[in-house]
Symmetry: C2
Subunit: 406 residues, 2 copies
């Protein structure tokens, strides 16, 4: 099939998906939709890309490739064939221990005595399994509006309707949340990415965090804190998990942004009952590699984390500043001002899905973010500065402006 036809088909299927949105097929909400991120990645495959604002990957220069080369050898020397056997459900006990011992305090996350760490194959795998456990058809789940499309796809797939609560520079609008709960809304849980929010780049303030936890207690709600950017951000506020006094926060951590996403290692912290259910459902897929769990465990033991966190947070902060300059110059007043993390939104006045191909012709990739809004969609573009080199950011934003100006 020629690329043109493929693009047209992708585009048509994307329109079709928007029209059908969520068709119910049987008892599950069997929604088969390409994520806007995967969609851009597919249609740009084998095309030359100069400005990649689409990826959620960390900066290649920060991935500790050399360290892992050495660690991989050490794992094989130390464990031999045992690194190649089946992983047990719940994860390797070494890795669980080392996350507790060498990682949690560094990122400011606390583990209560009635809680456990469960290893998952990346945060996304954790969200999927939690959705399978928590969500029942017809449930309402509260998310930030806009939210992370891929994060909430499994939640929708498992039968929940999403209700969006808007987010501003202080994070989730907890006053509005309180209002709709007072009016009788009964959500199953609240899913949010409070620190370096994907896609706005906002950080939830400490007051709002406190307010959210009060509300969660009052209305007896679980809060799912999806928190991949904490280790790569400068002076992040305390995690919801560390402020939580009643064990309502389910914490999802990821090694993808600080170490590497190709290892597929993340973890969930939650109460023992839910932790056991996650482990039981991991019998469905066994998808976390034994070898890579042992490698990650060793990486934590080597105490390279602190230096890496410092390097990452400084580097991404520098990139963010370049981005802010470029945004102010080329899209004044039309963007969310990122505080940390990899992302922010630019608001545009044309449907960004229609300009993806034109951007690819200019060797630029972005993610149309309109579908990241679960309510009141706004034409917008998600800008990611993880993968793109700092040298390209300023020029890239200029090219983006040209694409949307013509």
């Amino acid at each position: 099939m020629s690329l043109d036809i493929f693009i047209i088909l992708c585009y048509m299927s994307s329109i079709l998906n928007n029209v059908l949105k969520t068709y119910s097929w049987g008892y599950l909400m069997k929604i088969f939709e390409w994520s806007p991120i995967e969609y851009v990645s597919m249609i740009s495959r084998d095309r030359e890309v100069e400005y990649n604002f689409a990826s959620g990957s960390p900066d290649p220069s920060l991935i500790p490739v050399k360290e892992f080369e050495k660690i991989f050898q050490e794992v094989i020397e130390e464990y031999g064939y045992r690194a190649f056997l089946y992983p047990g459900a719940g994860g390797s006990s070494e890795l669980v221990r080392n996350i507790d011992k060498y990682y949690l305090d560094k990122i400011g996350v606390s583990l209560r005595s009635d809680e456990e760490i469960v290893i998952v194959s990346g945060a996304q795998h954790g969200i999927k399994i939690l959705s399978q456990i928590l969500v029942e058809k017809g449930d309402i789940v509260i998310v930030e509006n806009p939210t992370f499309w891929e994060g909430v796809y499994p939640i929708r797939f498992h039968g929940a309707s999403l209700r969006g609560v808007s987010i501003d520079e202080e994070g989730l609008d907890t006053y509005y949340l309180e209002k709709i709960l007072r009016e009788g809304l009964k959500p199953r849980f609240i899913y949010l990415n409070p620190t370096c929010h994907n896609p706005t780049g906002y950080v939830m303030s400490i007051d709002r965090r406190r307010h959210l936890l009060e509300i969660a207690e009052r209305y007896d709600l679980f809060v799912v804190e999806d928190d991949p950017y904490r280790p790569v951000s400068k002076d992040p506020p305390p995690s919801l998990k560390s402020m939580d006094r009643s064990g309502r926060v389910i914490y999802i951590g990821s090694m993808s942004k600080i170490f590497a996403p190709g290892l597929r290692i993340g973890f969930v912290i939650t109460n023992k009952d839910l932790a056991e259910k996650i482990k039981i459902l991991e019998q469905h897929d066994f998808s976390t590699s034994t070898f890579l769990q042992l490698a990650m465990s060793k990486a934590l033991e080597k105490n390279i984390t602190e230096a890496l966190m410092k390097r990452c947070s400084e580097h991404y902060d520098m990139k963010r500043k370049i981005l802010l300059e470029a945004l102010e110059r080329y899209f004044p007043g039309r963007y969310t001002r990122p505080v940390c993390g990899f992302f922010n939104l630019i608001y545009v006045d044309k449907d960004p899905e229609r300009y993806v191909e034109k951007a690819i012709e200019r060797r630029l990739l972005y993610v149309p973010a309109t579908r990241f809004f679960v309510e009141n969609p706004v034409y917008s573009i998600r800008i990611g500065i993880g993968l793109i080199s700092s040298e390209k950011i300023f020029d890239g934003i200029k090219v983006l402006r040209e694409i949307f100006e013509e």
Copy 2:
């Protein structure tokens, strides 16, 4: 918690599970059950084991650890940071190409022009995603009786009721299958493990394979061929996939038994529509590591597969012969006669769940297999010869006899 209390809790939860069996919680069959395999592995953790008949792992002496050590270095040299970025949905194009080019013909599996290879994080991950796509609540899925507990757990979880068709030395009883279909049973699909069946060790004959495919055409059914043992078995019969003329066979392949389960690499071959749905649902978890996909791709390119297949099939055949001798001596007339693969069943006259702890005291592990029967359960033990060394098999079976004799 002390080990004793833990064992008691595990045992109680196992009894409770047997009592409740499948309680429906909302719209999914939210069955939270420990697999008999995981259960034995958990309660034996940190205990000394001399005779491990419980594991589904390949023989440690056959895992190409040295080769992978070299390959891992080569992957890092060749791909650098790119081996550490996010995997795309559907898998690395290199690995897809190399499975097609260097692997399928060696194992006697053919790819139709209207079909695709999709990489999954091990066969189990493939079964889970297929279940999410194919199964709707209330569906009936036909499986062998007994069947592989872990293989069918996701099928049950996603809402299907299992109907068992018995299996004998020629494989699935296709005549009985035909009878129940003629009587009006309308299953969603047939899941089977026709070559070196887990847990009986039987192999489906060519005549039965042909008959099954005829039936599938006549009654318009999908057949899911779960086929992990083909590459490690001596002269296996043709795969159902290679005999299939109408694209009804969904093939699930695994690298776990021939290379290593700790890599978590498997693949599914199916029509393009279903393949696309699998890729879309892989957006839920991204669980296959980029690095390990590239490593597996390189391993296939190096053409070590053929020598490995020969070594494995001879070694496991030798172990099987020792097992057969021991079975004949200590359990005459009370076992399924394995043809290939890692497993067989021993029939016992006492509930084998009650003897697990006693066996662990004798440093022996087995899997109680009663729950592998979806209909008409029979007290039985699954014997696995993958992990145990050949020197231990004979003595181990003797110890097992003593445990059940006292």
